[in-house]
């Protein structure tokens, strides 16, 4: 009687560990499968971006084919010709986005200060006024803007887009900078104020060094939105101040057949923001949610 029991006990123990082990193996199998799924899904989402950049390296004869050419002899022809064609547009975009972003920071930092560090009495109302302007559709303002710009001979000038992009990004910047300012320990600011530092001095020598990363992140977010803006650019500029998105309009129909050139142009148009976004990755959520999510 005892022998079978003895025989059975180790076997029972054996099956026990075996199920535990197989459960573990199942777990790691599941984990591997989910990891694979993650990669597949993410690559699927990334594919259009990759395909755009790749097609830019093709000869036109490799670009619109059936089946699509995955292997081809790469060339820089399309990129260099797109770069020379997009040249003026890129220049306009760079000037407009840079100046607009500087204007935004110059206006938003003091405002954010007056809404956080030394708040005015109705800071909450002001804060929501700013955000409510962000919710107003451009449709509600574009027509007078167009008519006024036309009267003042400002259509197709850099200055119009600079002003408008600054106003577009100002609420975001105010909210975002405020969220950074609130993280500065109050003691530091208090000390500076007790020392009798003037507002500008406080700003320059205490606050700005402390929130440099926050200002950089804010600037990048403003840059991203201004660089990609389409509606105002298309309606208010034609050539003298036309930005990169307006350059892409030329591909909408006529040049549509030249896919390699189109893709090279599109990639060039996207590259600055892609790089900025990748660099600002950790601050991106915060910028997109105006400081609500960190």
């Amino acid at each position: 009687m005892s022998a079978p029991t003895l025989m059975r006990t180790p076997r029972a123990a054996g099956t026990g560990t075996r199920t535990a082990r197989s459960r573990m193996r199942l777990g790691s199998l599941r984990s591997a499968a989910l990891g694979l799924l993650t990669w597949v899904v993410v690559l699927l989402f990334f594919f259009p971006v990759l395909w755009m950049a790749l097609t830019g390296f093709k000869q036109e004869s490799d670009a619109a084919t059936t089946p699509p050419h995955f292997i081809f002899r790469p060339t820089l022809t399309q990129y260099s010709s797109a770069l020379s064609k997009a040249g003026p547009f890129l220049t306009h975009s760079v000037i407009i986005t840079l100046v607009a972003t500087l204007v935004v920071l110059a206006l938003a930092l003091p405002a954010a200060y007056a809404l956080s560090v030394a708040p005015v009495r109705k800071w909450r109302d002001v804060l929501f006024f700013f955000i409510s302007t962000k919710m107003l559709p451009v449709a509600g303002a574009i027509i007078p803007i167009y008519v006024i710009a036309r009267e003042l001979h400002l259509l197709d000038t850099l200055i119009v887009l600079i002003i408008l992009y600054a106003s577009l990004n100002l609420p975001i910047a105010v909210w975002m900078l405020r969220s950074f300012l609130l993280e500065v320990p109050m003691g530091i600011l208090e000390a500076a104020r007790v020392d009798g530092a003037s507002f500008l001095r406080q700003l320059r020598s205490v606050i700005m060094p402390l929130i440099t990363p926050g200002m950089a992140a804010t600037a990048l977010i403003c840059f991203i939105f201004a660089w990609n803006e389409f509606f105002l650019a298309v309606n208010l500029t034609t050539s003298n101040a036309a930005t990169v998105p307006v350059y892409l309009v030329s591909f909408q129909t006529g040049e549509g057949q030249f896919w390699a050139h189109l893709c090279a142009g599109a990639t060039l148009a996207c590259l600055p923001v892609l790089i900025a976004g990748w660099l600002a990755q950790d601050q991106l959520v915060r910028g997109l949610t105006m400081g609500a999510v960190k």
Partner: protein, 314 residues
């Protein structure tokens, strides 16, 4: 004595009030430039939009400009295209927002696990959102969805599916797909931040107590994510309601008016027909609708921005 003391109390209170007023005035100075700038650039044009909407005013015939009362509004409400545009706006906002929220939730959950190359994955997944919308529109229109040479039809042909003219036969679906593709990364970012802000020890405790994965997700993760989802929906809707780039580049509002949303119709009336009066009336209606939605949106957001960090600063 009593009178004196009282008077002294009064003056002290008055002094304090005066000091408060002075302090508030001083504190207002840094705010003024930004505030004035915003009012001038965003509020004045809107007031002018209302003014224009009451006029019969075409840029091509400036001499016939005259006050027209509510005529533009009566025109608008009998305009079948405008009604279609409003319905399309709702569809082309809600569907992409909800689809990208669902996809974003799925991807955020996948990325919230220990997975090989997470940093790379995150960099890759945010890219569609960073791509210039006008460029994205071109890439989809030609290289992906083209009837003859597009990647989609090529892949489908491997499974024996015949060539389809996606953009013309499924124009709304095309626009929705492109918008969803661009906005999913946005939702991923917000929801991933939400997932990662979940206290790990609480989840661990639940697991020790024998709660299953699904139970934890439904009872703990989802309620925790709720405010992040609301924020994603509100912000996504604010931007998508104004969708213009993809429609302009891919379908030009067509075929017919199938993908004409309010911003695109306004563009046509204002910049193709130069009918300033009618376009302005349209702008006013769009703003009024937005205000209704935004009131709800602001309430949602204000819950998120509590007075955290403001203690002792007033």
């Amino acid at each position: 004595m009593a009178v004196l003391a009282n008077r002294r109390g009064d003056t002290a209170a008055e002094w304090a009030r005066a000091r408060d007023r002075r302090r508030n005035r001083r504190r207002r100075i840094p705010l003024l430039p930004a505030l004035l700038f915003t009012i001038v650039v965003t509020q004045i044009p809107f007031v002018l939009t209302i003014w224009y909407s009451l006029q019969s005013y075409n840029l091509y015939h400036p001499l016939t400009r005259h006050f027209a009362g509510l005529h533009n509004y009566t025109l608008l409400f009998t305009d079948a295209i405008f009604r279609t545009a409003l319905v399309n706006t709702v569809i082309l906002t809600l569907v992409p927002v909800l689809l990208s929220l669902l996809l974003g939730l799925g991807i955020a959950l996948l990325l919230d696990r220990k997975v090989f190359g997470r940093g790379v994955l995150r960099t890759l997944i945010i890219s569609p959102f960073l791509v210039m919308p006008a460029a994205a529109a071109l890439v989809w229109k030609f290289t992906l969805l083209d009837t003859e040479f597009g990647m989609l039809n090529y892949v489908l042909s491997l499974f024996g599916v015949h060539h389809t003219d996606w953009i013309n036969n499924y124009s709304k679906g095309t626009i929705i797909t492109v918008l969803t593709w661009q906005w999913t990364p946005f939702m991923v970012l917000i929801l991933l931040a939400g997932l990662q802000s979940q206290p790990a020890d609480v989840l661990e405790a639940a697991r020790v107590d024998g709660a299953g994965g699904w139970q934890i997700f439904r009872r703990m993760t989802l309620p925790h994510l709720r405010q992040y989802m609301e924020l994603g929906i509100v912000l996504g809707a604010i931007y998508l309601v104004q969708a213009f780039d993809a429609i302009f580049m891919i379908t030009s509002g067509g075929p017919g008016q199938q993908t004409t949303n309010a911003p695109y119709y306004l563009y046509e009336v204002a910049f193709r027909s130069f009918d300033i009066g009618r376009a302005s009336a349209m702008g006013v209606v769009v703003v009024v609708i937005t205000i209704v939605v935004a009131t709800f949106a602001l309430r949602t957001i204000s819950g998120l921005f509590s007075d955290e960090g403001m203690e002792g600063r007033l």
